[in-house]
């Protein structure tokens, strides 16, 4: 019995989510890291609402970048060690599609919780109304781009010693546009300007990453496994 491509992709997605559900502590670490990093700033900088409100977008976004990078090691690392990646390469389906599904499931278990948690953290920093909404929207648009771009780095550094540090050096500069437009949108709203320009650019960057990253990641995986 031959399986359609959709069924295979669905199967990969279900398995990734199932694996994440059985390893909940692993998944929760990313979220707690995010919450703790953000919560450190009021303690370290100043508890004054005015200052907090100013730094809020930048702090939440930088914490989201770091948290999503922290989770990247798990994207391919385990599949590489136990041989699943070899089987993914040998599957009759296009590798870039399988990679896209893996990135999607990775975002579902690491990126989406950050988005859901962000309004709470925004409130903690005194963000209100529209600014809070824009923070959530930008994270929703931007975190998939973080996973997509990060996947390229994760694939390139697979199996290297000290790959984690190398990964940050490789990927963090590429995260800069997401940070600028993401945090910029929230600041623009807070200072009374419209956020639509920033949001459009952020969405454009995400679409670009969606179109390019799976193919580049697939090529990088082939090189890493050669």
């Amino acid at each position: 019995m031959s399986t359609s491509m959709l069924a295979t992709l669905n199967c990969v997605l279900q398995r990734e989510v199932k694996l994440a559900a059985r390893r909940l502590p692993d998944v929760m670490t990313t979220l707690f890291f995010f919450v703790i990093v953000v919560s450190l700033f009021p303690l370290g900088v100043s508890p004054e609402t005015g200052i907090l409100r100013t730094i809020a977008p930048g702090v939440v976004w930088v914490a989201a970048l770091l948290a999503s990078m922290l989770a990247l090691g798990r994207l391919f690392g385990e599949d590489y060690r136990d041989g699943t990646l070899e089987q993914l390469l040998l599957a009759p389906q296009p590798l870039s599609l399988l990679v896209l599904i893996k990135i999607l499931s990775h975002w579902l278990v690491t990126g989406a919780p950050l988005v859901l948690m962000s309004p709470l953290l925004g409130l903690q920093f005194g963000l209100q109304g529209e600014a809070l909404g824009v923070l959530v929207v930008t994270l929703l648009l931007g975190t998939p781009a973080l996973s997509l771009v990060g996947a390229v780095g994760a694939a390139l550094t697979l199996g290297l010693r000290g790959g984690g540090v190398l990964l940050s050096l490789l990927i963090l500069p590429l995260y800069v546009p997401v940070l600028i437009f993401g945090a910029g949108a929230v600041e623009a709203v807070a200072s009374g300007l419209g956020a639509s320009g920033h949001i459009s650019l952020l969405a454009a960057f995400s679409v670009l990453a969606l179109c390019g990253a799976p193919w580049v990641t697939a090529a990088a995986l082939r090189i890493s496994l050669d």
Binding site: M1, R81, Q87, L90, D226
Partner: protein, 206 residues
């Protein structure tokens, strides 16, 4: 069916083997021999399309192989040192996933049947983490029972298996060859393949 032409493998700055040419016909078994580090695994990975040869080429059914080639990928079953078993999934889930990924989804009932044929009927609902090395190997090999792949590439398939499982695997290989399939394998164990058409390939220095 499977043809290799003047293959050369380079790992780092070492040449593992050079100018290796051979062909395997339908229903034949290729037994790759060689000491540790002679390049057997590299050769098998090349035949599966995972590693690119430094020189030379490989043909399957008269067409050069490539990992982008859907038809070739649907034809090959590769079992490496790492068995692609997830610790957190049970045997049925592991088997079901690897079969679906290879392009043929099997029901839970079929998976259970294959696992019990491999002697795992009592353990198929346990997470793979608690299985022994040999049992994990059996889960990986259970996929062969329902595989439609014509080319089996098995890297040390007998490792960690007990005698019953070895006999079982040998029977599967015989059956596959009888259907006109091709098997390429390496092993350091003393396994006899007298009754099948087999050829031996020596890799590296003797």
């Amino acid at each position: 069916m499977l043809k290799a032409h003047q293959l050369t493998a380079v790992r780092g700055d070492r040449r593992l083997f050079t100018q290796l040419s051979f062909s395997v016909a339908a229903g034949e078994l290729l037994y790759v021999r060689g000491v540790n580090g002679s390049g057997k695994t590299t050769l098998l990975r090349m035949l599966a399309g995972l590693t690119q040869p430094a020189e030379g080429g490989i043909q399957w059914d008269g067409r050069p192989i490539g990992v982008n080639d859907d038809r070739f990928c649907g034809d090959v079953f590769y079992l490496g040192h790492r068995a692609a078993i997830k610790d957190d999934l049970d045997a049925v889930e592991n088997l079901g996933f690897s079969a679906t990924l290879a392009g043929q989804s099997i029901s839970r009932a079929v998976a259970r049947k294959a696992l019990s044929a491999m002697g795992l009927s009592d353990h198929d609902d346990l997470p793979a983490r608690v299985l022994s090395q040999g049992q994990r190997r059996r889960v990986a090999l259970a996929r062969l029972l329902n595989s439609e792949a014509r080319l089996w590439i098995l890297d040390e398939p007998f490792t960690a298996l007990d005698t019953v499982a070895i006999d079982h695997l040998q029977a599967s290989i015989h059956e596959h060859l009888g259907r006109g399939g091709v098997v390429v394998l390496t092993t350091h164990q003393r396994v006899e393949f007298d009754s099948v058409a087999s050829r031996e390939l020596q890799v590296g220095r003797i």
